[in-house]
Every structure is written in C-alpha cells, then in structure tokens.
C-alpha cells in the first residue's frame, strides 16, 4: 500500500506548487491591473515609421 502513500505525497506536492504559484501571482501584482495586459499583448512593438 506504500504506493498510495507515495502517490499522495506526489499529489500534495504538485498541489502545493499550484498554491505557491497562486501566492506568487498575487504578490507580483498580476491582479492589480486586469485591463492593461490584454491591451498590451495586442500592441505591436514596431519601429518602422509610418507616414501620415
């Protein structure tokens, strides 16, 4: 039955990783501004000059 114990330890460690990732994401301010990132990813970083 030790295999169940091993599996449990593995599953809880994986879950802890997710918890750590969640805490990190809150800490790094990912939820402070939910509007700029979706806009930012659509903006091209062009250096070419466009004539108007």
């Amino acid at each position: 039955m030790s295999v169940i114990i091993l599996l449990l330890i593995a599953s809880i460690s994986v879950a802890s990783l997710f918890l750590a990732a969640f805490i990190w994401s809150v800490k790094s301010g990912q939820y402070d501004d939910e509007m700029s990132p979706p806009m930012r990813m659509l903006l091209d970083d062009t250096t070419t000059q466009k004539k108007h």
Binding site: M1, A15, V26, K27, D32, S36, L42, T46, T47, H52
Partner: protein, 798 residues
Amino acid sequence: MAFSTETKTTLHCFHCGDNCVPTNIVVAEKHFCCDGCKMVYEILNQTGMCDYYDLNQSPGATQKFKVRADKFSFLEDTAIEQSIISFKDEHQIHVTFYLPQIHCSSCLWLLENLHKLEPAIVLSRVNFERKEATIIFNYQRCNLRKVAELLTRIGYEPYISFSDMGKKRPGMDSGKIYRLGVAGFCFANIMLLSFPEYLGIDQKEENLFTFFRYLNVLLSLPVFFYSAGEFYNSAWQGIKQKFLNIDAPIVLAIWVTFSRSLYEIFTSSGSGYLDSMSGIVFFMLVGRVLQDRTQKKLSFERDYTSYFPVAVTKVSGPDAITVALQDIQLGDTLKIYDQELIPADAILTSGTALIDYSFVTGESIPVAKEMGEIIYAGGKQLGGTIELLVIKEVAQGYLTSLWNKDAFKEDLTKDRSFVHALSYWFTWGVLLISFTTGLYWYFTNISVMWNAMTAVLIVACPCTLLLGNSFTNASILRIFSSHKFYLRNAAVIEKLAAADTLIFDKTGTLTTRAYQTVLYEGRPLTDAYKKKIGILASQSTHPLSNAITNWAGVLRGGPVFAFEQIPGSGIEGMVEDDLISMGSSLFVRGKQELSATGAMVYVAVEGVYMGFFRLQNHYRKSIPSMLKRLTNKFKLLVISGDNDSERSYLRQLLGPSTDLYFNQQPADKLTIIEALHKTGSKTVMLGDGLNDAGALKQSHVGIAITDDTNNFTPASDAILDASKLSRLEQFIQLAKANKVIVMTAFIISIVYNMIGLSFAVQGLLSPMIAAILMPISSISILLISFGFTNLTAKWLSL
C-alpha cells in the same frame, strides 16, 4: 485615416475628435481644432510615433487649455521631489504619476513608449485601472520636471495634488486573498483524503485510515491558524468593544469542531470534521472577498488635499519662488495664475480677480473681487494673474476647517448590521439546545453527552447566515456597479435601505453645471445681430458668455475691436461696426434692476437697449419626473448654494411639503442635516462639489454625483454617475430587498440546521452526513442569494 476630408460640414479634430471649423490649422490634410492638438501631432510625427493614431480614432485629449510654462517648476524642489518619487538610487528615480486622461489602448501604447521621446526614460508602465503610469528614468540626464513637462506636451498632464505628498497609496488587501488560497488548497486536499472515510475501504487497509487522518490534521493546521485568522481578528475587535458580532459564534464553532476532531483522531475514536471545518472557512472567505471587492479606480476618501495643488508661486522681493503648500505662512504674498485654485484665505492685493466659487459654495456665477477684499480658499481664479496676501494658514481656512469638524469622527458602535443581532439570538438558541441535549444525555446515557453537545455546536453555527449575507451583498454591489453606482463598502447597502429623507443639492446635481437654457426677451434680434452678439461673447471665458456663444451658434469668434471686459459688470466691443455691450443692468442700462432674479445678461447695441437673456440651469434628463415620484415616498429637501431664481419651479414640481433652501453656505448645509438627525431622520445627501463635502460626510449616506466617474469626487459613501440619477428609487428598493433576501436564505439554512440537529441531538452525526450537509447548504445559500438578488433587480428593471 483621412476621415476628416469627406464632409465639409462636420470636421473632427484628428487628435482629440472635437468638432472644428475649417481653418488654417491643417497639417498633411489633417484638421486640428487648436494649436495644442496640432503640436502633439507634430511631436509624435517627428519621432515616428503615429501608431498612436492608428490604434484608435482621435485618441487624444483636447489641448485647448494651455498649461502655464513653468507650472511644474516646483518639481525641482528637492523636498517636494522626495515626497513624490517612490524610489531613488545612484542612477534612477522611480515615480508614479496619476494621469486622468488615460482612456484607450493608444494612451497605453504611447505612454509605454516614452523612451522613444526621451532617451533618459528607462521604462514606463501603465496601470490602466488606476490611470497611473510608473516611470523609471535616469536622473543624471533628465529630471522630474522634464518628465512631467514631456507628459504634458504629449497631452497627458500629470495630476499632482497635495494629498500625494508623503503618502503611500493603499494597495489591494491581499491578506484575504492569501488566506483564501491556503484555505482552498487545504479544503480540497482534506476532502480528497476523507473519501475513504465516507465510502469505506477494505478491511485489510484499515491502517491507512490513521495515515489519512494524521495527514488531515496536518493540512487543517494552516486553515485553523492562518485562514480562519480573518474571523478571529474581527471577533476580537467586536469583543474589545463589548459587542458580540457574527464572527464570535463562528469562531466558537470553528474551535469546537477543531478540538473535537483532534480528540477523535488522537484517541482513534473517529475521523473528526476537519473537512467540514476547512470547507466552511473557505466558503465564508469567498463571500468576504467578493463582498470587499471594490472599484480600484475610484476613491471614496478624497478630502480638500486632493483638490489643492502641491505648490504655489510665492512672491518674495523681486523674484517669484515656488513653495510647497504646507510652507505657506501668514503674510506671504502668493501669485495665482489663471485657472488656479486659491489655497488659503487671503486678501487681494493686485490684479483683477474673478473668482469661481462653484467649488466651495455651489454658486454658479463667478464673482469679481475688488482690491482689499478677502478671497476664501477653494475659489478658482479665472482670467489674469492676481497677487494675494495670506491671512490664514492652509489648514485653518474656511473650507479646510469643514473637514476637521468633530462630527466626522466616526462612531463605530452605531449603524451595526441587523445580521449581528440575528446571529446573537441564534447563538443563544444554539447554546440552549446544546445544553438541553447535554442535560438529557447526562441522565440517560452519559457516554453520548459530549458527543451530542459538540455535534449541535458544530452543525448549527451561523455560518450560513454569514454566507447568505456576504453573497447577497456582493451581488447587490455588482448590480449597482453595472449601473455606475459604486458603494464604498457593503455596510452602505443597509444604511441606504433605512433612508427616509433625501436631500438634493441643486447646481451640478439636479441640474447640469453648464447653463444650457438661454431665453431671450426684448426686441427681436435679426440673425446678423445674433451672430454679432455671439462673436462678442466668444471673447470672454465667463460661463454666461459661453452659454450665449452656444445659443448664438457661433463656433469660432470673428474680429472684435476695442474689446473691453469689466469684471463683475460685463463686456463691450466693436463687431462689424456695431458697438455691442452686454452684462449687468447697471452696466448696460445705467440703472439697477431690482426685480431681477437669477442669471440675467442685458444687451445694448450702439447704446440702444435691446433686451435681456435669462439663463437657466438645465435640469438633467428625467430628473423632474423622478422627483415627482419620490415626493410620495420620501421626505425631500433641496439645499442649494445658488440664488433662489428656481424656487417657483421647484415648488411647483415638488409640492408644498418639500423644504427648499437657497443661498446656503457649506456650513449651513451641515447644520440642516444635523437638525434632521435630531428628529430621527435617516438622511441621504446627494451632492457633487466640494461645497457639499461636509454635508456628504454628515449625512447617513452621502452620494457624490459625477458626470464622469473618472473625475474627482469629494469623500462620500457612494459615487453615482449623473446619467443614472433617475434610477435612485430602484437602487433604494434593491437595497431594501437585501434584508428580505438574507432572511430568506437564513430561514432555509435553519431547515438544513434542523436536519443536521435531528442527527446531532441523537448523537448520530457522522462525518459523512456533516460532509454532505455542509456543501449542500452552502451552495444552496449561494444560489438563493445570487438568484433572488438578480430576480429582484430584473423586477425593478435594473
């Protein structure tokens, strides 16, 4: 992109999208409404940043109002700089500016590409929701003033106010989120490990139970000591004030559950209820987090300091220096430029003062001040530059003293939610059942006594009441905010529901700020004269002149000769060979009009009196009908700082039972509300300006009305978009429904409790039954709260 050349009738500015007339402000076939807009375009065009215009059509803000050249010179002062920046090392300065103009992806793109305009800028990052830009720059090659001026040049003038000084902005309360995350993690894992307990496993594997149970104890420790800390804190706060709030019985239930579970596990007599305990903590935290989610872009705490500038120009000897606001001393001479706020009570010593007090008093017409007259802080100078002698320090001015009144020290003991009272009686009921059960088993079968007593406490905790309350509040707040009605916190819902007296400010609340209704009486005017009057009026920045310009349909002024503006009297000038004068009766006709009410402008052409304009504030759409409906249900009051020219109209609209007050100073508004409170009225104040700020704080619920929720609003309990003011009645009705919905959820939860209790009193509560009852009751409460609130909102057509 050449959308502006297609039609000749309506041209739009390429930069800001305002209407503009065909003029010579054209660059590369693009029309601009003013030189300011054109300049921004040219700056961006030179650096190849015209992507700005590709992303959105006319993304800029209008540049018609010029910013004074040395406006930001105060940023060179080291002490001021220190209080604004957030970080500084040998090379870099980090600073966060509030840029109210941010509104679209073009803004984001431009502001994050600032390094292309100024190489010394290392990084700029926009927080869209807060309308802030964090800029990192190399201060050996640039300085704070230059950065602020660069932002201003491209149309994003930073808003730097007195309240930014030496204060860290409050961040999001992430403590609750962490607690929630930990509780969720532990709850899910404990649930998983408890499955063998619920379903049973093979006889040979019984020893695994012990392992699972100990693992559960381990996993429940963070829930008990960390996640549930939220409830310990709030219960302890209540007990310190000798008050048992709803969190106290919840803490009791958590403790009883936890100790009984530990006892069972360590004596190998059972598996405990750790799954139910962590589950309920998790659900309650979800409710709290949803309820406390507030609008990040709004501030409910603004006081006068947010309105005042950081620094002003002080005249000392021959030079003018910039001083921080708190360094202004009695006897200082200040120089106030056009459109600047007067920071301290002062005497006018030179220049022509035309002070717009609408901020302070609600009076809509600017007043002219003579040399030697006192000008109170909060007024805004229109026109030229003036010099003032300070007679009171900033903190002691008339306006600022309104904020420092003792009345505003909030009393924490009053206005407690009905939920606490309910939970109080509920708790005593549960304790009674628990002891009766204990007593019964004491005489029949003493071995079951503790088991049954604790089971009652575990099953019948008022957590469903708390859940129902927080989820109902959360969904009401969500519905309100989808209608641009933002509450400071959930406690305001109940205060709003209790309201029986509605107090309205007039100017800016019931009416729009601008004069929109212009009536002409007198000799008929030909179209040519109408145009000439408009051209003359367009020369002045006075709000009455603006209204007449609009009335005449003049988009762009023509040539006016011998133009003269006499503050407080009127304007005069030659338009196409006609001498036109307009202004007060005394100025135009040489005699005082005694019967005049409200805003009147008299007109004479070539010295011949023609007639007068009567200007009226324009009532917001559907406000009159709303007021009519409200008169039957609430006691209404109108308190205005303006003159009483609208008295008869309002009287006819609101009927004889409504009290109307005119010419009220900010302090008078406070006194009226105080008097109403003495008679036991529950007041809701609706106002918009700083002049209502005292009244907004004094009343039970202060609602700040704003035309644009991005604008500044004074400190208040709620912020309401002016276009939704007519929904006020529905908002109050939904707030009233809150109590009914929470009670319904509570009664249903009692049914669940009865089922649980019937097992518990018999000493038969198995972890399995607890584990089934807990999520079912929690989730059904959740559905009831959300469902009923949304149904009610739909019924109220919100």
